[in-house]
Amino acid sequence: MLNTLYPGNGVKQLKKTQLSIKMKLTILNILILMTVLIGKNTFAQDNVNTTTTVNATLIRGLAMEGGNNLFLGEFALKNTDSQKNISNFDGLKFTILGQSNRLVTILYDEFVTLTNVTSNSSSGTQESKLLTFRTNIAEETGPDNGYNDPTPLPSGTSISLYDNSAVGKVNLWIGGTMYLPVSLKNGKYIGKFVVTSVY
């Protein structure tokens, strides 16, 4: 009736209704969007990964091969103090095995005292029964096991173990000098020589 009487009012009313519907739809959309966002904030989790590396080195334990006894030889005592040299080549060879290319420090006694162990040692002065052996060691690394170009190795020196098929090694030769005072009694002399190798 109104539309019939006032056609302009009907159009306005229609536009107003359409606008209201549009706004309601917009509000609904925003509400849905908010629900999604709130839901995301509440339940979704930021998940980030990273990695860290673990590195380990397993070292081959040190071992010594060869060189159990060094026989210095037989000597005639003289009427004066004397000494006898034992070359490294004529001395005792032994090999240190360990981790390839690792530094190893070699420690050894630079003076070894040998004691007379024969029956005649019960008499005489203490000095007459002790013999001093001053030691030295020569080392040679590389693929060759021979005594070709050895280098003197003072006690406390560090040396890298040569890589020989994944096993590190160094060859050592023990030599030295025996001091034979005129007071020394004849007999068999024995002493202990200790070599230590540490990484």
Partner: protein, 156 residues
């Protein structure tokens, strides 16, 4: 109706802005370098050592709760078919809330389990990892044993 729309837009805007707080990143990372060991002799590197592993997680907002998971390998391998057992003892990891990179005063935790921490008043957490290698007597000596720990961080 227009007022309602405005309010909703503002709420929506705030919601969008608050969402940016979840971003996170890792930094200050150090690999775990285990002490040298010999076959037959287990050797542990403590979490507070300079050789320990370390990482820091940086969130972009304070007071978040974070859950950290470590996937720890059972073995390290040398790339040539040899392996040695690896583990992290239940008292050989620690964390400190905040960005400080000094492990002194950090809290010990079990890295084999999830770690859930609220970062009160800060957006950072630093974690230190120690470890143990347990080579059997017949283990193959090598300089090259490696493994990977996967760290997963989730902001709750």
């Amino acid at each position: 109706m227009k007022k309602t729309l405005t309010i909703l837009f503002l709420i929506l805007l705030a919601g969008l802005m608050s969402n940016t707080g979840n971003a996170q990143s890792f930094d200050a990372k150090l690999a775990l370098l285990l002490y040298d060991s010999f076959p037959g002799y287990p050797n542990s590197t403590p979490y507070y050592d300079s050789y320990a592993g370390r990482y820091r997680i940086d969130l972009s907002s304070n007071n978040r709760t974070i859950r950290i998971t470590h996937s720890i390998p059972n073995n390290l391998n040398d790339g040539a078919g040899h392996t040695v057992p690896f583990s992290i003892a239940n008292n050989n990891a620690s964390y400190k809330i905040g960005g400080n990179l000094n492990p002194l005063g950090s809290t010990v935790f079990n890295a084999n389990n999830n770690l859930t921490v609220q970062l009160s008043g800060t957006d950072k957490i630093t974690v230190w990892l120690g470890g143990t290698v347990s080579p059997p007597t017949n283990a193959f000596p090598s300089d090259n044993y490696t493994g990977t720990i996967v760290i997963t961080a989730v902001v709750l």
